[in-house]
């Protein structure tokens, strides 16, 4: 690899992109102009925007007490509103003072008659006021009827309950909420539901947003109560104060907002009534709010800003890093094909790796620049706008820019993120035949990334060790946390290491994919042809090989994953509800057979010519079998202690309920040991090995990509285990299993390893009670589980290391021989299949 060539390619691509007006526009002009324009637009909108007035109707306003007065000539007194004039301006309050019952009905009559010709002599406002009040009266009548019916229904229910001799607790008169089919008094209930329906319908078309009905004699009753309080006459019965009804439609935004304003006014008015009660009865005013809650705000200005930035920056960073990478990548990949310069580049002496790296560096530069420019522009605009808008009122929102340390973190974290997106986009762009096809890939990619980012912005999502290794999630969550704490949190900074390492790992993987694509003539010289599903299927079936192809292996994994996903909903209830242990085991065995073994075997039969080669069904040497079993034995204590360590350090979330139940079942002695071993050791050993060390590994390892196939297959093996700690454990063991399969060229040593490992784990979960804990090698913890002490762990570690080292050395030597032995005939089948047949 020559850095000079990479630099040359990088500089050329950079110059090429900079000469492209579209790219320049997307990358620089757009962010610089977009945010100020958006900001300006927003300010304009807010200035021109005025909330429409909402209509409030208050019936029986004359029944309201004179002191304190709720209403004045204009409507509700401005002083009652929490926001004073602002609220008053937004509400149009209509009361029925001045409308006698007959006058209103006349008006409404008149109104209905003259609806067609609007040329009425009366003033527009007054006329509609009358109409509204008439409608409101009708509504109020219905409401009273409803109340009456509900009360009767309540009494009935109570009666029947007492008659049945049941002692159920009294339910409030809430009959409407009950089902219509309830067998007690169906006629009453149907009526109630009918009236409710009518009220809803009437309210909807009435043009009233909130209706308030003051009960008859409200003021008088209130005076009585006032007197009672004054007299402090506890003997006399409480006067019945009928409630003031406030009707709203919470599903309607207009009604809901008006309701909020009205309620706050009523609350304040109510407080005033209460205060006057207390004053009249010479009670201390502090009775009003005996708890005397007072809120103390400790958020500093920069924290408020930090919380704003912590929501905006990670999302923008992710999305902009992706868009910034995408368009140049399309131009550099698919664009080069489309313009016919790809072959010119391919015949230059530069290696494919150099081409990809040069292009990758260009894309990444654009990704980083786009993201930074966008953030900068957005930050400055936001700050400017907050200042401009808040200048009127003191102590208003001002958005300070995040501190230097936060900004540094943004830049540090941007790089791995941009690298991942750049490599991914470049690979996709290389795969695409044309820029148009390339752009089709953007939408799903952007959707997926945005979904993940939105998830990260939930307030409850905090950094965990698991998140720190998930792509994109890790950067977004870490950045959110760091911005919230202004980059001061040393606790979070620790996570920077796994985040950076894993992000760089993912970028390398994506980059490797891009390089692979540049080495694939199928991809480089793909010709646009009509896609025909039937032909395509036939081609796949016709061009079978001894072992599956790389994409087929990937597809097998995706299929297994999808099956698990589909089955999740149907199996979850069985796992978490109280199904019997037998049911549980039935599910586990079925799942192994149907969802793991079947897809692999089915695909193997359909897509390959040699089941023997695909599933490595060769007789293993005794030596390899022994190695498999021995390795399982020495690795088990290590994996147990590692999991315990990780769990006790809260690296993983607690085990979900379903899995915990399975564990509990293992612990109890109710099931015969042989059954447990069949279910938890034998079945997975056969099914999972056939799938992952059989079909998947054979497909991935084709063409001699051993190292990468081992890594990817074990990652897949980990992923299907779902539960984080199991996934981690399985991922590690997957490495060993894959190595064992490649080393022995047979599936059976892996199966032996898997069986022994799971058997010991099953027995271990059962406590291994017969083993004597001597405290030197073995011990028992508080839960009486067998634990392994450091001398044993050291012994096991050394043994495992030696065995793995032995296998790696043999595999590397074999690879070397193969490389030097036969000249690789390029293309399909050749090297791997040849060796396989020679070995068998």
């Amino acid at each position: 690899m020559s850095w000079k060539n990479i630099r040359l390619i990088f500089l050329r691509e950079l110059r090429d992109q900079l000469r492209d007006r579209r790219t320049l526009f997307m990358i620089t002009i757009l962010p610089v102009l977009l945010y100020p324009m958006l900001g300006l637009g927003l300010v304009e909108m807010m200035l021109t925007f005025s909330e429409e007035r909402r209509t409030i109707v208050i019936l029986n306003a004359s029944q309201l007490p004179d002191s304190p007065p709720l209403l004045d000539e204009q409507g509700i007194r401005t002083s009652w509103y929490s926001e004073g004039q602002t609220d008053a301006d937004k509400l149009r309050v209509i009361t029925d003072r001045g409308f006698t019952a007959t006058a209103v009905s006349d008006v409404s009559q008149h109104d209905e008659n003259t609806k067609a010709d609007s040329a009425s002599s009366q003033s527009e406002d007054h006329k509609s006021d009358g109409a509204l009040i008439a409608t409101a009266r009708q509504l109020a009548d219905k409401l009273h009827l409803l109340q009456k019916l509900e009360y009767e229904e309540y009494l009935n229910t109570k009666e029947s309950q007492t008659a049945d001799g049941q002692t159920q607790e009294d339910s409030p008169p809430d009959a409407g909420k009950r089902q219509a089919g309830s067998d007690s008094q169906p006629s009453g209930l149907t009526e109630i539901i009918g009236i409710r329906e009518q009220i809803s319908q009437m309210f909807l078309v009435s043009g009233i947003d909130v209706l308030t009905v003051v009960p008859q004699g409200y003021s008088d009753t209130l005076s009585v109560v006032r007197q009672q309080v004054q007299d402090r006459n506890s003997e006399s019965e409480d006067a019945f104060l009928a409630p003031v009804l406030v009707v709203r439609n919470s599903a309607d935004d207009k009604s809901a907002s008006a309701f909020a304003r009205v309620t706050s006014a009523f609350k304040n008015w109510e407080d005033a009534i209460r205060a006057s009660f207390f004053a009249d009865a010479s009670l201390p005013q502090m009775l009003q709010n005996p708890a005397r809650l007072r809120w103390v705000e400790v958020a500093k200005q920069e924290q408020v800003s930090a919380s704003v930035w912590s929501k905006m920056f990670p999302a923008m960073l992710v999305i902009m890093a992706l868009t910034g990478a995408f368009y140049p990548a399309i131009d550099l990949g698919a664009g080069e094909k489309e313009r016919g310069t790809m072959e010119t580049l391919l015949i230059s002496p530069a290696k494919r790796v150099e081409l990809v790296l040069g292009k990758f560096a260009t894309v990444m530069l654009f990704s980083v620049c786009t993201a930074l420019l966008n953030l900068l522009s957005m930050g400055i605009t936001g700050q400017h706008m907050a200042m401009a808008m808040g200048s009127g009122t003191p102590g208003s929102l001002s958005l300070d820019f995040p501190g230097i340390s936060s900004l540094l973190w943004v830049i540090v974290l941007l790089f791995p993120l941009a690298a991942l997106f750049s490599a991914l986009c470049l690979a996709l762009a290389t795969f695409a035949r044309s820029t148009k096809e390339g752009q089709y890939y953007l939408t799903p990619l952007l959707m997926a990334v945005m979904g993940v980012t939105m998830f990260c912005l939930f307030p409850a999502i905090e950094m965990t060790p698991l998140y720190s290794v998930l792509p994109v999630v890790n950067v977004a969550v870490l950045l959110k946390g760091l911005l919230l704490t202004s980059g001061q949190s040393s606790q979070l900074a620790v996570y920077a290491i796994p985040v950076l390492v894993s992000s760089i790992g993912y970028s390398m993987l994506a980059l490797w994919w891009a390089i692979e694509l540049y080495n694939s003539e199928d991809v480089l010289f793909r010709e646009a042809e009509k896609f025909d599903l039937r032909l395509w299927m036939r081609q796949i079936l016709r061009t079978k090989d001894a072992v599956p192809a790389f994409p087929e292996a990937i597809f097998c994994f995706v299929l297994i994953l999808m099956l698990q996903f589909v089955a999740m909903s149907s199996m979850q209830p069985d796992l978490s509800d109280n199904g019997s242990a037998a049911d549980l085991m039935k599910i586990i065995v079925t799942q192994q057979l149907v969802m793991i073994a079947c897809p692999a075997v089915f695909m193997g039969v359909l897509l390959t010519t040699s089941l023997k080669a695909t599933f490595r069904l060769r007789k293993p040497s005794l030596h390899a079998l022994g190695l498999g079993m021995g390795l399982a034995m020495v690795i088990h204590p290590l994996s147990v202690e590692l999991s315990q360590f990780l769990v006790s350090h809260r690296v993983f979330p607690p085990i979900p309920e379903g899995a915990a139940r399975v564990m509990g079942m293992l612990k109890s002695d109710q099931q015969p040991v042989w059954l447990l071993l069949v279910v938890f050791a034998l079945t997975p050993a056969i099914c999972e090995e056939l799938a992952f060390r059989g079909f998947v590994l054979s497909g991935l390892a084709r063409g001699g990509r051993l190292a990468i196939s081992v890594v990817i297959s074990s990652m897949m093996f980990g992923i299907i285990h779902m539960i984080p700690q199991q996934a981690f454990n399985a991922g590690l063991l997957g490495l060993v299993l894959a190595l064992l399969a490649i080393y022995s060229r047979s599936i059976f040593p892996s199966m032996a390893f898997h069986f022994v490992n799971n058997s010991i784990a099953t027995l271990h979960a059962g406590g291994l009670k017969f083993l004597y804990a001597d405290g030197v090698f073995f011990s028992r913890d508080a839960e009486n589980s067998l634990r392994y002490e450091s001398p044993l762990l050291i012994l096991c570690g050394v043994a495992a290391f030696l065995m793995i080292l032995h296998m790696v050395r043999i595999v590397i030597r074999e690879q070397d021989h193969k490389r030097r032995g036969i000249i690789p005939a390029f293309g399909e089948s050749a090297p791997h299949a040849a060796t396989l047949s020679r070995m068998s």
């Binding site: 000079k4 060539n5 040359l8 390619i9 050329r12 110059r15 090429d16 000469r19 492209d20 313009r339 016919g340 310069t341 072959e343 010119t344 391919l346 015949i347 230059s348 002496p349 530069a350 290696k351 003539e521 199928d522 480089l524 010289f525 042809e529 025909d532 032909l535 395509w536 081609q539 016709r542 061009t543 000249i823 690789p824 005939a825 390029f826 293309g827």
Partner: protein, 261 residues
């Protein structure tokens, strides 16, 4: 200089199954010689030359350039060949000079020699006036000149022209042919693929008629005329192809009918 032995290239095609684009092709080209590959469109010329330029890998067989195997040392091979085809376009957003300079640098030519070489080539190809013009603003003929300049900037011993005159007007085509001829006189080893008989007659020292991935006949023009009793190249070409088609149709050419396996 170029040695191709029993070269086979198969493609997987959704419609036709495994398609053999190059079928057991062998030939050799010496320095100072123009070897013409004559064949109709889709005969396998481009595939064969793409294997020589290391862009495609052969399914079977050996191809060597200047003693280097195209599979084992692709970078070495690419350094020793100049390759020009209708698929090797030039960049729209680069000037003629930048384009040639860029490739010269990729070939690792020292800077002062590169500048000298560029001056020289631009002079010879009479393209000093389009030196600073962007690729997107050039005519087809200008682009072709830039392509030739790009092909020979590193002074390679082997040059491959794959239908270099397709889509050019007579004047430019003539200029291209003259350039190729001049290169032969410098002692280069040249492969020239075309479907135009006139060019073959004018230019090539030896020719191979290729059809459906197979070489039907090979030799100098007089040799071929002698062998097939047909002095006219065009007639010769049609005769060969027709005879081959008949052979396939009659089913006698078992080997050949295996294009579709």
């Amino acid at each position: 200089m170029i040695r191709v032995q029993r070269l086979v290239k198969e493609f997987d095609d959704a419609r036709q199954g495994v398609f053999r684009a190059v079928d057991d092709v062998s030939f050799e080209v010496r320095p100072g010689e123009i070897y013409g590959l004559l064949g109709p469109n889709g005969a396998g010329k481009t595939t064969c030359l793409r294997i020589l330029s290391t862009v495609l890998r052969p399914t079977r067989g050996v191809a060597e350039v200047d003693g280097l195997n195209v599979v084992r040392d692709p970078e070495g091979v690419r350094c020793r060949i100049g390759f020009m085809s209708c698929n090797t376009g030039i960049y729209d957003r680069m000037t003629a000079r930048e384009m040639v300079e860029y490739y010269g640098r990729l070939y690792g030519i020292p800077e002062d020699r590169l500048q000298h070489r560029i001056e020289e080539i631009f002079e010879v190809l009479q393209m000093t006036d389009i030196r600073d013009r962007l690729g997107g603003k050039m005519s087809t003929g200008m682009k072709q000149k830039v392509s030739i300049a790009r092909t020979i900037v590193h002074d390679p011993p082997v040059i491959i022209f794959d239908e270099p005159t397709s889509g050019l007007d007579v004047l430019v085509a003539r200029a291209v042919l003259q350039a190729v001829s001049a290169l032969r006189d410098q002692g280069k080893c040249i492969i020239f693929s075309t479907h135009i008989m006139r060019e073959v007659e004018k230019l090539c020292d030896r020719i191979a008629v290729i059809h459906r991935g197979r070489i039907l006949a090979e030799g100098t023009l007089p040799e071929l005329a002698d062998r097939y009793q047909q002095p006219d190249v065009e007639e010769l070409f049609f005769d060969l192809i027709q005879r081959h088609e008949e052979l396939i149709a009659s089913g006698a050419g078992q080997r050949n009918s295996q294009h579709f396996v």
